[in-house]
């Protein structure tokens, strides 16, 4: 069985301050891990993915995530938030065995 827990349903930051969106996973396998972003009334877009290569993964728009096996975490970070980062973010675990497991999402609000 596999599960993904996004620890915060809502995160609010000021523009120019760091962003941290937390994700923990549980899996019997060695999963692939992804972060997707969904802007209002848009489809989901891949931000970055981890597939057992480097544990620090860099994605688009300045986001990065670090895979920590000992903590079963894959937190998403960005050094400086921009207004355009306001969106819903989903952490996802996938395996070769079949379908992926999505977290419930974190809504990021960026205040001017």
């Amino acid at each position: 069985a596999q599960s993904v827990t996004q620890l915060d349903s809502h995160v609010s930051v000021s523009e120019g301050t760091p962003v941290l969106l937390r994700c923990n996973y549980s899996s019997s396998y060695s999963p692939s891990l992804f972060w997707y972003v969904q802007h209002p009334n848009k489809g989901l877009q891949l931000l970055l993915k981890y597939t057992s290569a480097a544990t620090l993964v860099k994605g688009i728009n300045g986001f990065e995530a670090e895979f920590k096996k000992s903590e079963t975490s894959f937190h998403l970070t960005k050094p400086s938030a921009h207004m355009s980062d306001a969106a819903e973010y989903f952490c996802v675990a996938g395996t070769n065995a079949g379908k992926s497991t999505f977290g419930d999402g974190t809504t990021l609000t960026v205040k001017p």
Binding site: P31, S32, F34, Y36, K42, G43, L44, Q45, L46, K49, T51, F90, G94, T95, N96, A97, G98, K99, S100, F102, G103, D104, G105
Partner: protein
């Protein structure tokens, strides 16, 4: 190249009617997924097709929901006797897949079909 497309983009239907939602995946992608996203909610997995294998239907909420994938490409999600609680955005995604499945590959999402049942 072309991404995942879905049609229609919006569908309004009366309670009790049947609807069909269409998904055209990226050419060459053998894995196809359907999800449902209700207002302010996360993604709810519905069904997963992987190549010629039997689909994983474990997420379908009731027997009013069915899906098929013809020729390993286009997929149709059918909802019979629609209910108001079926109102949601239905998202389709496709991905490459390895020998066993598609979960380790990123999914490419379509824009979704917004279904409103009145």
């Amino acid at each position: 190249g072309a991404g995942v497309s879905q049609s229609p983009s919006n569908k309004v239907t009366e309670k009790g009617k049947d609807v069909e939602l269409r998904c055209d995946p990226i050419s060459g992608h053998t894995a196809l997924y359907w999800y449902r996203q209700s207002l302010g909610q996360g993604l709810e997995f519905l069904i997963y097709f992987q190549g010629n294998s039997a689909p994983d239907k474990s997420g379908l909420p009731s027997d009013r929901f069915s899906a098929e994938r013809t020729g390993g490409s286009v997929s149709t999600l059918t909802i019979q006797r629609t209910q108001q609680e079926d109102s949601a955005v239905y998202l389709c995604a496709s991905s490459f897949s390895g020998p066993s499945g598609g979960g380790s590959y990123e999914q490419y999402f379509g824009p979704g079909t917004r279904l409103t049942v009145t």
